[in-house]
């Protein structure tokens, strides 16, 4: 082989090595820089967990492409790691994209500061209503200390949570609903979210009561349509009016309540209305943590995928 041919061969080998190196880098890059999607491929299942946090509420969502949202976190410190964060971590989530406080009542946001101190959070959402709850105050202080971007949740807001999942804020809308003393009513100004995963819709209602349900119905009943409903206010009789349930039209509903709670939640009348509305009801006080999976066309209880 002459000298020129030898040099050309050397260049060809060098170019091939460079191409090979680029291919290896392209394949390895996601794991080198940290794959925020938790290693998921599009087309997988979106998971919606109604955590057993006793008498309170906490709902976790992990989308098919690994985005995450926590809606409320209850009031039991031991449940933060053992129930809530373990669900996310088991599915490869080490950072929550969104944390939403439905309203500043202890059984919904009691452990806000704990959650924010234990896992990185992308954005914090809140109805920003007047109140004096100390756990809420402490939670907001942590939001500020950590520099977590904070957004006031208002009707009309919406954001994408992954490629096929969108979150709409349906409530609250100023002027806020007030009680007979003119004070802003915590429950009735809860953040109501509709999570749309492909064709599947999930309605999260916090603790809204009859007055907020009436206003939501008056604004746009079609926006309430959902396949899965978080029954408002732990199944209290002050919520879940028949017109509201009819507008939602879900086949499945979940009540988050503590076993033998002092309030008698869920109330018998609510259970009756849910039955009349044709909904299959799951309860965290009876069933423990309840997890649903959505493939973007239908939603089912985890473990029962594929059954009619």
């Amino acid at each position: 082989m002459n000298r020129r041919a030898s040099r050309r061969l050397r260049w060809v080998i060098l170019a091939l090595a460079l191409v090979l190196l680029l291919v290896i880098l392209a394949l390895a890059l996601p794991s080198l820089i940290g794959d925020e999607s938790g290693g998921r491929e599009p087309g997988e299942l979106t998971r919606i967990a109604f955590f057993d946090v006793g008498q309170g509420l906490s709902v976790g969502i992990i989308t098919a492409d690994g985005r995450s949202l926590l809606y409320d976190m209850g009031d039991r410190e031991d449940a933060v790691d053992s129930v809530i964060l373990s669900f996310f971590r088991e599915h490869g989530i080490e950072r929550l994209d969104y944390v939403v406080s439905s309203h500043p009542d202890q059984d919904h946001i009691g452990e806000l500061a704990t959650v924010l101190n234990r896992i990185p959070v992308g954005t914090y959402l809140d109805p920003a209503i007047e109140n004096t709850n100390r756990a809420y105050l402490r939670g907001l202080q942590v939001v500020e200390e950590k520099g977590i971007p904070a957004q006031r949740a208002r009707r009309g807001d919406a954001f994408e949570l992954g490629e096929r999942t969108r979150v709409e804020v349906l409530w609250p809308e100023p002027p806020f609903i007030t009680d007979s003393d003119g004070e802003v009513h915590d429950n009735n100004n809860s953040v109501v979210l509709r999570v749309i995963d492909g064709d599947v819709r999930i309605l999260l209602t916090g603790d809204i009561e009859e007055e907020a349900e009436e206003e939501l119905l008056a604004l746009d009943p079609s926006a309430l349509r959902a396949d899965l409903l978080q029954v408002a206010h732990h199944g209290s009789n002050s919520s879940s009016t028949m017109p509201f349930l009819d507008a939602v039209g879900a086949r499945t509903a979940v009540i988050s309540a503590g076993a033998d709670n002092s309030y008698g939640h869920p109330h018998r009348e609510t259970m009756q209305r849910l039955r009349e509305a044709g909904m299959t009801v799951y309860r965290t006080d009876v069933d423990g943590t309840v997890v649903f999976v959505s493939d973007g066309t239908q939603i089912q209880l985890e473990g029962q995928e594929g059954t009619p």
């Binding site: 920003a128 007047e130 004096t132 500020e144 006031r152």
Partner: protein, 83 residues
Amino acid sequence: MSPDRQDDLIATVDEIEEGASGERLAVLVFDDGQKLVVPLERLPDGTRDGSVLRVRFRLDRRTERERRNEVRDLQRRLFGPEE
């Protein structure tokens, strides 16, 4: 019994437990069955298992106002002005 005393709630110290940090906690059970767990050191000297306590609440408007303002200021800083 004076009218004031009629407004009091009656609670019995049902048990005294050790808390997670080693502090002593009194489990108060009110006559309607509701429970309240209070650090023993916050209760009157001599409180023991089986003690009966009278509990009276009073409004603390100053602290309420301070707390409300603190929350409002923090909300303003975090969320900005309402549009």
